[in-house]
Subunit: 366 residues, 2 copies
């Protein structure tokens, strides 16, 4: 076994999920995640937790959904009680074919998703963590050889999370105290100002102890409003199966008033026109994971990349909002990413320069 | 997909487990049983049942057990409630390595097994069915090529179960009405008489409707007592890792009084000397599955082989006993098999010839 698989399991069980002796842990194993499943089982045995392994098979799921008449029972009790009583749910993703469910109709997927609402909630009420085991299918999706993809994934996952969490705490503190964020990029004319007054930033340090449920993670995010100005997103991505490149948005009074893209303008339009909230920002995220050093068109990695900033059109997260405030609401939440690692970029909070050319002031001593 | 995988799934879901719309079904998928898992999921979708896939990984289990300190929690509630609420549990066995857990200590395995007693009971209270998907590891254990092993397994599983169940019902009726069974083999001097008075035979037709929980099955069995005479078991088998050949037992007053074997006498002795019940018979089984045409040293198949008879030293099954009677009790239940398909063999009930040279009277018209 690649020793990094064991390190991954240790990071997941100890840092991310904080599993303790006697904990009841559901381990959901993707079709291609067997090796990580074995390493996680070993670690859970070592800690003295109880485990129940779920087989998360996209091929079984596809076969079931295609054969079913589409009238699904609501969150069957036998499954619900499993998740309701679990302390933690560890999802070890790792598909053998990213298109495994490509021939299941959108209607069926939606109906099934809807019928599983209570199951999802029960799972979200546990100390859940999602992570990914590198597979050849995921390497292919990222356009990388398997060996290089493995290196990429482990560089992102096997961080010194405690040190990174401390660094991210600095930024969280600045954002929590701040009232206004501005980002500028000379190269493309980006100059965008957002209010973050009264919002609380989340230190997404890949641990339930930080209310952060993905491994890898490594970003600090908050919920902006009253956005003014314009911004270009130079990190290419696939949205709803369509290439989106150089998306450009212009904001007035917090709302998108004009937009274009060098490729994929139609999909950008369809996102923005989904509902009222889709033309407002739900998230400002600042990537701080320097283990992620390239774009792979997998949002879980791209948006955490050190030196990038992402903004999401649509729904805001409750964790960023004052109690009782609902924030921006929408059926969508689409992240768009801009790379700050070039000369002439700035990120300021209340006029103070926090990041320059992609480096924070505590990195670059300015 | 081999079309027989779908037929297997259909037999399992329809004939064996009798799954109905809305049933809550746990599907336990062995490491090598993915293809059958997909076919079963498809069938369950078609029927309109709910399913929860468990990953039954011997490698995860081994890693967990080896790392654990051995003080296991008793049947954790989150797992218990899953099985307690399930209508059916379908176990799709199919290992990738029959020695996957060879380096887990006997003590640990026993302690873990003991701690899972309530889980096992909850599972046994459902309409559970165990079956096996052919894997290369199982082919290797059987000493067969993969293709030949697949043919062997599907010949055993894809029977006309309804017709076989009717045939087995004839034998059950004879055994239920009968008081004494005798088996004779001229070739090796076997002449054994057992009382089956007041015992109820089980028609093991691979369906929960017949209180039969293995697919394949195909035997009729009862609980004999007051055994007299001697018997030789000419079907070779591996018991506790040791080759046992030509085991010979002599009975007086229901008890083994002398024994020997051409190979493996020590393991035979250790079985018989386990406890009081281990020197008495717990089961007389008559194999009626003619899809099984050769010995593979896998007891699930061997003991169902048409034309064979097996006797088990040790524990009797409750289903064979009158209400309130406990029958032979022992920590062991070891099946030993003799092949009746040769000239000069007889199986009689109360003196009536039921089977001759391995053929029943309704097969051979005598």
């Amino acid at each position: 076994m690649d020793p990094r698989v064991r390190e991954h399991a240790q990071t997941l069980v100890e840092w991310s999920a904080r599993i303790e002796p006697g904990d009841d842990v559901v381990v959901s194993v993707g079709e291609g995640a067997h090796a990580l499943g074995v390493a996680v089982a070993e670690k859970l045995g070592d800690v003295g937790a109880n485990y129940h392994a779920v087989y998360s098979s996209s091929e079984m799921n596809r076969a079931y959904l295609r054969a079913h008449d589409g009238e699904f029972d609501e969150s069957p009790a036998f499954k619900h009680s499993l998740y309701k009583q679990a302390d933690s749910v560890l999802s070890l993703r790792g598909t053998r074919n990213t298109s495994a469910a490509a021939d299941v109709s959108e209607d069926t997927q939606q109906a099934y998703g809807k019928a599983r609402g209570e199951l999802r909630e029960a799972r979200m009420d546990t100390d859940w963590v999602s992570t990914v085991h590198p597979t050849r299918a995921l390497a292919q999706q990222a356009g990388m050889s398997y060996e290089t993809y493995c290196n990429f994934v482990y560089d992102a996952i096997l961080r010194d999370w405690s040190t990174l969490a401390d660094e991210m705490a600095k930024l969280k503190s600045i954002l929590d105290d701040g009232r206004e964020v501005t980002i500028r990029k000379e190269s493309d004319g980006t100059e965008l100002t957002m209010s973050i007054d009264n919002r609380t930033a989340v230190n997404s340090a890949a641990s339930v102890a930080y209310n952060s449920h993905n491994l890898p993670s490594g970003e600090v995010f908050t919920a902006p409003c009253a956005t003014e100005g314009e911004v270009t997103f130079d990190v290419p991505m696939t949205v709803r199966g369509t290439q989106l490149r150089d998306a450009w948005l212009a904001f007035e009074d917090g709302e998108v008033v004009d937009w274009k893209a060098s490729q994929g303008t139609d999909v950008l339009s369809s996102i923005i026109e989904t509902d009222d909230g889709a033309s407002r920002l739900g998230e400002l995220g600042i990537g701080m994971n320097h283990g992620i050093d390239r774009v792979t068109d997998q949002i879980l990695f791209d948006e955490k990349m050190g030196g990038t900033v992402h903004l999401a059109l649509g729904r805001a997260y409750d964790a960023n909002l004052p109690d009782g405030e609902s924030g921006n609401n929408s059926a969508v939440h689409v992240d768009l990413i801009t790379d700050m690692r070039e000369a002439g970029t700035e990120l300021t909070v209340d006029g103070d320069l926090i990041q320059r050319n992609g480096f924070f002031r505590w990195e670059d001593k300015f």
